[in-house]
Subunit: 411 residues, 2 copies
Amino acid sequence: MSQGPSRRGLFAGLGAAGATGLLTGGLIGAAVDRGQEPDSVRERVLSRSGPREGLPPALHTPTPAHVHVIALDLSADTPAEVAQQARSVLGLWREQVRELHEHGTEGVMEGSPTQGLHPASLGITLGLGPSLLERAGLEDRRPEELEDLPDFSTDRLDPALCGGDLMLHVGAEDPVVVSAAVRHLLGSVREHARVRWALPGFQRGAATAQDSSATPRNLMGQIDGTVNPHPEEAIFASQVVASHTDAATSWMDGGTYVVVRRIRMLLDDWFDLSPQERERSVGRRLDDGAPLGGENEDDRPDLSAKGEDGEPVIAANAHIRLASPEHTLGARMLRRGFNYDLGWGPGGRAEAGLLFTAWQADPRTGFTAVQRHLDEGGDALNEYVRHEGSAVFAVPPVREDEPFMAHELWS
Amino acid sequence: MSQGPSRRGLFAGLGAAGATGLLTGGLIGAAVDRGQEPDSVRERVLSRSGPREGLPPALHTPTPAHVHVIALDLSADTPAEVAQQARSVLGLWREQVRELHEHGTEGVMEGSPTQGLHPASLGITLGLGPSLLERAGLEDRRPEELEDLPDFSTDRLDPALCGGDLMLHVGAEDPVVVSAAVRHLLGSVREHARVRWALPGFQRGAATAQDSSATPRNLMGQIDGTVNPHPEEAIFASQVVASHTDAATSWMDGGTYVVVRRIRMLLDDWFDLSPQERERSVGRRLDDGAPLGGENEDDRPDLSAKGEDGEPVIAANAHIRLASPEHTLGARMLRRGFNYDLGWGPGGRAEAGLLFTAWQADPRTGFTAVQRHLDEGGDALNEYVRHEGSAVFAVPPVREDEPFMAHELWS
């Protein structure tokens, strides 16, 4: 155990305001803001993530067109063995991630499927699940933030699609780049870990978007990801970046916590609704994503506005009302939604929906606070979605000088 | 029943040589040749397939980055009902396909996920399975070419992943465009048909390829699709385009037959091989796809060449030797391979491999002839692949003046 109560990483010693300067100045310097540059598509295709310090690639904007999120369980049983195995896997991955970020799969193995492709902004993010700390006998090092989510009444969770000791989050602008990197990373740890669940996701490619800086839409047609905190905002550090001043949990200082949810969408039922019914359920217009009664996507929803009929313009059970900061004690998180569409499973059930990821300083005041309101408030969207998978992972800050992730935790 | 023995569509009355001129001049005029134009990426993104005559979009080059192939079964039981249902579904789809090709999903429904996206070369291709003709009481109209494939000794087929009354093949440069179009087309026929199996596939996006005219690689890293017949070649019409001069089967004159195979790859085992072992199995170099002993990808493999050790340079069981025209009576087909990567199934089995499609005038002398040699000859790749799904469909020519596909068959 080491330094103790000082804040770690590039956020060391900075309050929210101070961190903001750093964020703008360099920490997420490789990130592209929503204000689109003319060559932003080309940039996504040509970029290498390269080595980064601080927050991992998954939090950088813009988000890639393709991701694969994979949860793994270590095979060992005793705490000492689990801890040893975790060190081995994280040590292997640290080297491989560094190499992949610098050279791509084509640079680290012969005969890669990615030969002849641009780097496509390949970015790899690792996470540690609460079960890992328990199984490794490190329960006393587990931050309170890292605990399994509470049950929600609308959950339809399948245990086989939940949890996991380790998370691998691989994103890139090209699906072949993602697939090859995933296989390379998993191939090396086959003896130690097995896949618990996995979900490949996508959003529109930057090249296909008329405006690649526009907020993407999900398979329901909703613009999804409005009102995300931006790295330029003071609020970003306090809402997204974890702060841990005590020695036991300082390994997570400057990191973040990610909630991953597999949310199946009942798309046939959804598109059976009239456009007006769909707008009422969400509380936003279908065409431009503006809140009902508003003008632009970024307008603050007027929750008190009433129509000529005396009814609220934004319905009492509209998704954006229940999810709004006014209803959730100011809770915010960085949401990164991806679509999944795996075709149809046995019995003809469509396996399509949202691979939802939420990144925050504390899931209890982030995802959980918002989801509780959506759940208990009877979110109009609940009828059209099924939460089938759920997991939470600690994402420690990336430190190039460490031999493996969260080194302080294991030493 | 109508015209009788004349050849249909734009191929009417043309031999291979004559058809070639037409092909070059106009029939596949919207297609882009392998000779890359500087703006070919932009073209793939901005293109609308639009209404086409003759061969369907799936055969046009370049192939899109994303496809979803879906097999459906009609719900009716009696031959008269099945035939009536087929007419209804094909009638609905004819209109919808026309609209989607012209306006995209965003142009035909409110609140589409594709709002704000470019057309991305959306192309929809329909097919009819042998089971449909049997069930509709049209056995006497079934061409001999349209029969279930024979068993191969290396098959590991799952009946739930095989066959189907109807095929929907939706391709585009963007996964959201594919997903939205699929849902729109299936939504309208829910009462008539249910999904039997489905498989979404991908290859590298045009934007990510350093040379978007280069033959793509599959997940094994092989360059996959070399030695495809090109529309400019005289051989294309005779090998890919079906010719039917008798009245009973003339509804397929000018169409093509597609074989679809779901081929799981044992990628861990494959990448455990040394690069040299992988090259020996395929018979081509990993880096540029040239046949062993050759210089360039397009070189004709020298099957008789021997090395200094007296052994064949291209091994006796190398994939390209067994698949070569010399070994398969000149059989050729238009191969369009896509990758699939659905993550890991129950028990931790990787669900990744090749969504292989082969388009030919006659599957018996095309796919079946080649696969028989690969199967019986002990193709070195057999150890690393599992054929789990299989289907064959008739793809009638597209005729804009018909109210639904293969109109002649149903009238």
